[in-house]
């Protein structure tokens, strides 16, 4: 599609400068090592291929979470948001989970979505924690606004941290936001935020070489199949 760059200059918001998220590795319950690293804008088309099959999975609200995530990532790719980031988890190069968020302003962050493509390994927990780590420790923010769309998300974030209820409205008209403050984060950190840094050159090279993704049927089976947990 030809792009009118003069118009784009009007439509594209100024991009917030955001310091990078330093990659880390996490050993999962099955012994596999997950590399958690920040995606770059050019990664978006590859990531969307893994999000696509999730759009049609009703179980555990994967449809709504992935539809919103799809839109958010696309908006980032097409320069329609000013401060979005995306972190991803890869095991043997395969994409197993995606989280994204943005800066509401310098002090306040907004958590967008958490999508675990492989299940039963607490990948969602690890990646959500990485996202909070990014906001508070690397973007240097004071607090993060969070809304859960699924009961699993509610249990993982609102109850496990536990987050503080607020009356701050959701930007798409959903339920009121919950809040992660620095105090809550640093109290929860020892039991929820893990990872080893730096990542070995070998693992990093494997992760960066190619974002591999399982085929649609495999993704659907993992999330919504009989053995989904």
């Amino acid at each position: 599609m030809p792009i009118d760059m003069e118009l784009e200059a009007v439509l594209r918001p100024t991009q917030y400068p955001m310091p990078p998220y330093p990659p880390k590795t996490i050993t999962l319950a099955n012994g596999k090592v997950m590399v958690v690293r920040q995606a770059v804008r050019e990664d978006v088309p590859a990531i969307l291929k893994s999000v696509h099959p999730c759009l049609f999975i009703e179980r555990d609200y994967y449809d709504i979470v992935s539809a919103r995530l799809y839109g958010e990532l696309l908006a980032w790719y097409r320069y329609r948001v000013k401060s979005e980031y995306c972190l991803m988890g890869q095991v043997d190069g395969y994409l197993v989970g995606i989280v994204n968020g943005r800066m509401e302003n310098e002090k306040v962050g907004m958590s967008y979505h958490t999508l675990a493509i492989d299940r039963g390994l607490r990948i969602g927990s690890h990646l959500f924690a990485a996202k909070m780590e990014y906001h508070l420790e690397y973007l240097g923010q004071e607090e993060v606004l969070i809304v859960a769309e699924s009961p699993i998300g509610f249990r993982r974030w609102m109850i496990e941290y536990p987050l503080e209820a607020t009356k701050i409205p959701h930007e798409l008209g959903g339920g009121d936001s919950y809040l992660l403050t620095r105090e809550i984060y640093f109290k929860a950190k020892p039991r929820l935020v893990v990872g080893d840094r730096p990542v070995s050159q070998e693992l990093m090279a494997e992760a960066e070489a190619e974002i591999k993704f399982a085929d649609d049927d495999t993704i659907r089976e993992r999330i919504a199949g009989l053995k989904g947990r």
Partner: protein
């Protein structure tokens, strides 16, 4: 009393069966058992359905009546048996007694549960309704919570360690990867759930001192058996499996009213009765399915039924004695830990798994060589209603 044999066994894969209703699952498992028994279009005389939660989770009652209708087993006698997580075992027992008494010849026993119909909060609450309605339930106690309090005492008294519990999680989840009927087909890694600093997130405390991977998953599933008098079974193609022994015992509802809360008297008594009836000793058993809803229970039951002395079960598991090829193979199916625990199905599924073992029809990586005698223990409540069955391969 007549000798009673199992001539048909069937199970559907356990897991999250979103597409199936409770009745679908019960029907599928029943048809598999009917076909396995070679009954074809024939009917049975009676049907016993083990189910705990139909009334609460599906708002459906009189499930057995509905099942005979679906399967066109009319005018067979039919009833649903509710006995908490031992509903399956109780259904087997009712079938056994009905055939043994001489009143019925062919009986279908099926257990099933659809627990993933509701969120984890609701499922936890549903299972907790078996605790004492005034002295326990209102406080927010859960079955894992009961197990946590039991584990603390058992660890202190018998020196069970997390290392011992870990051996059960690792063994059973590894076996689950080999069982096509198992809910959880993921082998665990010791580093990932125990040694690594990342284990704090991967395997968090669930009901202290128990961790996430000490607990069985919440599953949907169903399993079924066909019983008939041994004399009639001898004419069939597959080796009949004799229900050689059966025992059931109860205990106080609350742990605190037991003289020694670490003593699972009902397990000991149920197993003793089953062994006596079968004229066998624990040492004669070649393979066992024990009710490992929590890893501690596999250890405690292995001691209470007499496989190991008190305090030795955990060490035996850690030394690999309960693995396939070990001295006393336990939960080769993956147990509740990996097969899953659809509460009403479990007691039947355990018997189905032992039938597969005693018929010697499993692949090599799951078959206990030359298995002739098997034991199942189905543990209801927190050990306040326990059933044990001794099964024996009949030489034809």
């Amino acid at each position: 009393m007549r000798d009673v044999a199992i001539i048909g066994a069937g199970m559907i894969p356990f897991g999250r069966r979103d597409e199936d209703t409770l009745m679908d699952m019960l029907a599928y498992a029943s048809l598999k058992a009917l076909d396995d028994a070679g009954l074809g279009d024939k009917s049975v005389d009676a049907v016993y359905v083990g189910n705990m939660g139909g009334g609460m989770l599906q708002r459906q009652t009189a499930i057995a009546s509905s099942l005979v209708d679906r399967l066109n087993l009319m005018p067979a006698a039919a009833e649903t048996v509710e006995n908490g997580p031992a509903s399956g075992g109780s259904a087997v027992k009712n079938g056994l007694l009905a055939v043994a008494s001489g009143y019925y010849d062919y009986v279908l026993v099926v257990g099933g549960e659809k627990m993933r119909e509701v969120t984890g909060w609701r499922a936890t609450d549903f299972v907790a309704t078996m605790t004492h309605p005034q002295a326990e339930y209102p406080y927010g106690i859960t079955l894992p919570g009961m197990a946590g309090m039991f584990t603390r005492l058992y660890m202190e008294k018998y020196g069970v360690t997390r290392e011992h519990l870990l051996a059960i999680s690792l063994k059973n989840q590894e076996m689950g990867t080999l069982n096509p009927y198992a809910h959880v087909e993921m082998a665990l890694d010791r580093g990932g759930i125990f040694d690594s600093p990342h284990a704090i997130v991967n395997n968090p405390t669930s009901a202290d001192p128990l961790h996430l991977y000490d607990l069985c998953p919440v599953s949907d599933g169903a399993a079924a058996l066909i019983l008939c008098p041994l004399e009639m079974a001898k004419k069939l193609a597959k080796p009949p499996i004799l229900i050689a022994g059966f025992g059931q015992a109860t205990d106080t509802q609350t742990l605190q009213e037991r003289d020694d809360p670490t003593d699972l008297k009902a397990v000991t008594l149920a197993a003793q009765k089953a062994f006596e009836m079968a004229k066998l000793k624990p040492g004669d058993i070649h393979v066992a399915e024990l009710h490992d809803a929590f890893t501690i229970l596999e250890i405690a039951e292995s001691e209470h039924v007499g496989f190991f002395k008190k305090g030795e079960g955990g060490k035996a598991a850690a030394a690999g004695k309960t693995r396939l090829g070990g001295q006393m193979p336990i939960n080769i199916s993956g147990g509740l830990k990996a097969r899953g625990h659809p509460v009403g199905a479990t007691g039947v599924a355990q018997v189905v798994d032992i039938v597969f073992q005693l018929r010697h029809e499993l692949p090599k990586n799951r078959q206990v060589q030359k298995a002739e005698n098997g034991l199942t223990v189905n543990f209801g409540g927190f050990g306040n209603n326990v059933l044990a069955f001794v099964l024996r391969r009949v030489q034809s």
